[in-house]
């Protein structure tokens, strides 16, 4: 379970996220929506421990990210919005490094590296430097790395950007499968169709505040006049 309680984050006096509280239960795919600069990436960085929390509390499966960062992080698999990770490493070196960080035994990592790299069509590029990969390939190697230790909580920041239709489909299937096993998938996106297709629960954030939090049927009930998510989104995120 991801539990965010009353979290506020400021950057040199400017509030990025204010009094944010939300809970994501096991077995759910959670969509996190919002316009650019709304506070999505800041929230994700707070959950993953990239940004320190000054006010409030976040726990991942019972582990406080501030009090027990290593225990909490071991349960997370994070795909950042920027996929320029350790560009001078070869694909295989990167995956091996990630597997070492998350203590994946050799025999298991062999199977998983082969499985994920083949699923995303990057197996034959594993011996090349990540620097030479296209944006989509970099995204795929990062996703493969994240999946190596089969984390209980997946946190993905714009994971479908740059992926080709086949890989995008594969990833969506994997997300569904992962949630069905009782794990959590938390992801931010701008693609509203994906949210409608995949998510069990949705939060819409604007100017650092949650404007809506609930499941898709609740949303439909609350916004009966609007016939699709796009209109709901536009209505909720209008600043004037």
């Amino acid at each position: 379970m991801i539990d965010i309680q009353q979290v506020t984050k400021e950057f040199s006096g400017k509030i990025a996220v204010e009094n944010l509280s939300l809970t994501v239960d096991d077995g759910k795919i959670f969509g996190f929506l919002g316009p650019n600069g709304a506070g999505k990436s800041t929230t994700i960085k707070l959950i993953t421990g990239i940004l320190p929390i000054e006010q409030g509390k976040i726990t991942i499966n019972g582990f406080d990210i501030t009090e027990h960062p290593l225990e909490a992080k071991k349960r997370i698999g994070y795909v950042p919005d920027r996929s320029d990770v350790f560009l001078r490493l070869k694909g295989i070196e990167y995956l091996n490094f990630i597997a070492d960080v998350y203590d994946v035994p050799t025999d298991i990592r062999k199977k998983r590296i082969e499985y994920y790299a083949k699923s995303f069509g990057i197996y034959e590029s594993l011996n090349d430097h990540i620097l030479t990969y296209s944006h989509g390939m970099r995204q795929k190697i990062v996703i493969s790395g994240v999946l190596l230790h089969e984390p209980e909580v997946w946190i993905l920041d714009e994971p479908l950007t740059g992926l080709d239709p086949k890989s995008s489909y594969t990833l969506k299937e994997m997300m569904r499968e992962h949630a069905n096993k009782g794990n959590i998938v938390f992801f931010s996106t701008h693609v509203l169709e994906v949210v409608e297709q995949l998510c069990d629960e949705v939060a819409i954030i604007n100017n650092g505040h949650i404007e809506f939090l609930g499941n898709m049927s609740e949303m439909k009930q609350q916004f009966q006049d609007e016939d699709n998510l796009e209109k709901v989104f536009l209505e909720l995120t209008q600043n004037e």
């Binding site: 950057f11 990239i50 990770v85 001078r88 070492d100 050799t106 011996n127």
Partner: protein, 553 residues
């Protein structure tokens, strides 16, 4: 033309903009500027001394034009050397090159835009050497206003010819090199070339004893008017034209030669634009393409194995340093410059000076062991002091720093992997110095082993100290790896701190009478250094706590 001008202005603005640069970097630039003032006064006096001396000797036989010829030829050579690196990096290796390719510009326009920054570098060099040279010559020869007008014109056009010739040759060469495959390797070779060049010049300077023959030739040439100038400018016709025109500016010949100089330069520039239009894009296009290697499944499977996190993080650091051309040249090559120059000084000091093998050998036998070990320790502090690997430990990660933060690795593990990387790279320096000391200077084994042990601790301290400093004031917002090292005072700061701290210990032990003998001195040094490394670790731990999670915000 207007569009080209706008492009040039944009590129220059991007390169020199202070936007996004940290306050410490801005202070660094301000310091460089302040240091440049006394340095330029020093250059002016040095040039005044040389030109004045030569003028007194050469003027009686009408050979003063030789001074100008020499000035223009040296400038030509210096400007070519400066151009090669800056043209390669600006025309081909800059990361922004691809963003210009899609714009509706002719190749020659982009080339002109990319030439602006290297050209400014050349004018700085030109202002530092040629301008004072010409002014000093004018003062000694008592020339009139016309000389200074001609001098200003010729000063303005001097960088053009070396630059365009180098650019044409570089563009022609790059046309045939398969850069898309070897971009990184090319950069590494360029770094190594500079290294070999510095060492080579040193060897030549040290082995080149002035012979009697040269003296005789010189005496003969001095007898005839402009004889010297004719001889040295055989391969540099413009230097000849420039010199004659400046020696006799009021005559028709002076004016004619000036016009001729300008014509030659204009033709070269036209040739440069044509060459740019025809061949520049051929070398640039495909720079970012990857190479298809044969896939070897067995190789992949073999590589998959479990390792310790500290070890694998250290491996990652080492790979990044060795595979990134800028890091390779700034860290590996720089670490080797000092010890290799040390070897050159010892091996090629043919005059039997203070640093020749024989005098060092004699010194080893004469000097008392306490002072010897203290001197060697002091030398090691200088050799390892700057430690470029440590002062770039954190900054090297740049905007990818955040990757360390979401992974379940302790902050201490990440930082220690960086300290170990700096330590291992410095070990190279230490091994080279050690080998020289043992093989050439015949240092007694006992002293050698003690020195090596002490040097290992010094190496550890400088690695921890450098990493701490970089973690305290990192530069993560770079777009080009060179910014990790450029305009930062952190290297000098680290050296100053280390020299002051180690220097005080060494100086104190040097001057106390109660301390005698090799064993006692080295025991006290070891104890002091272990204590120092303990203090450094405490400071590093504190800095990790305050900085590790906040530096990327």
């Amino acid at each position: 033309m207007n569009k080209t001008w706008k492009l040039i202005r944009t590129i220059v603005k991007m390169q020199f903009s202070l936007a996004g640069k940290s306050t410490s970097e801005q202070i660094g630039y301000a310091f460089l500027f302040i240091f440049a003032i006394p340095f330029s006064i020093f250059i002016f006096y040095a040039i005044n001394g040389i030109v004045g001396g030569l003028y007194t000797i050469l003027e009686p036989a009408g050979n003063e034009s030789f001074i100008l010829g020499l000035l223009f030829i040296s400038m030509f050579v210096v400007l070519i050397l400066v151009s090669v690196g800056s043209i390669l990096s600006s025309f081909y290796f800059a990361e922004d090159i691809e963003s210009f390719l899609s714009l509706p510009y002719h190749p020659f326009q982009i080339m002109l835009g990319k030439s602006a920054v290297p050209f400014i570098t050349l004018y700085v060099t030109n202002a530092a050497i040629l301008a004072p040279g010409l002014i000093v010559f004018g003062l000694h020869s008592g020339s009139g206003v016309l000389y200074y007008i001609y001098a200003l014109i010729l000063w303005t056009v001097t960088p053009v010819l070396p630059f365009v010739l180098t650019a044409i040759i570089v563009m022609y060469g790059m046309r045939f090199l398969n850069l898309s495959k070897n971009k990184d390797r090319m950069k590494i070779f360029a770094g190594l070339f500079t290294f070999i060049f510095i060492i080579g010049i040193n060897i030549v300077l040290r082995t080149n004893n002035s012979s009697a023959d040269t003296g005789e030739d010189l005496a003969r040439l001095i007898q005839e008017q402009n004889g010297l100038l004719n001889t040295i400018t055989t391969f540099f016709p413009t230097a000849y034209l420039h010199s004659i025109s400046l020696t006799d500016p009021a005559s028709a010949r002076g004016f004619l030669f000036l016009v001729l100089s300008l014509l030659i330069i204009a033709c070269a520039f036209a040739l440069y634009l044509t060459a740019g239009q025809k061949i520049y894009f051929k070398g640039v296009l495909g720079l970012s393409g990857g190479s298809k290697k044969k896939f070897d499944e067995e190789k992949i499977t073999k590589r998959i194995k479990q390792s310790n996190v500290l070890f694998i993080s250290w491996v990652r650091e080492m790979r990044t340093i060795f595979r990134t051309p800028t890091f390779f040249t700034q860290i590996i090559v720089q670490s080797l410059v000092f010890p290799v120059l040390f070897i050159v000084v010892i091996l090629f000091d043919s005059s039997g000076g203070d640093f020749s093998i024989s005098s060092l050998g004699a010194m080893v036998e004469e000097i008392e062991p306490k002072r010897f070990i203290l001197a060697m320790t002091g030398f090691t502090v200088f050799a390892l002091g700057i430690n470029p690997a440590s002062i770039s430990s954190v900054s090297r990660d740049g905007k990818s720093w955040f990757n360390h933060l979401y992974m379940p690795i302790k902050a201490e593990t990440v930082i220690m992997s960086k300290v170990w990387a700096a330590f291992c790279i410095n070990l190279l320096t230490l091994l080279v110095i050690g080998a020289v000391a043992f093989i050439f200077v015949n240092i007694p084994i006992g002293i050698g082993v003690i020195w090596f042990g002490l040097s290992l601790i010094i190496n550890w301290i400088t690695s921890v100290a450098g990493t701490t400093l970089d973690l305290y004031t990192p530069n993560l917002q770079w777009t080009d790896e060179r910014e990790v090292f450029k305009g930062r005072l952190i290297g000098i700061l680290a050296l100053i701190i280390e020299v002051v701290v180690f220097g005080s210990i060494i100086l104190f032990l040097w001057n106390v009478d109660w301390l005698e003998g090799l064993w006692m001195t080295s025991s006290i040094l070891t104890a002091a250094f272990i204590l120092l490394s303990f203090v450094c670790h405490l400071i590093l731990r504190k800095v990790i706590r305050t900085q590790y999670y906040s530096i990327h915000q």
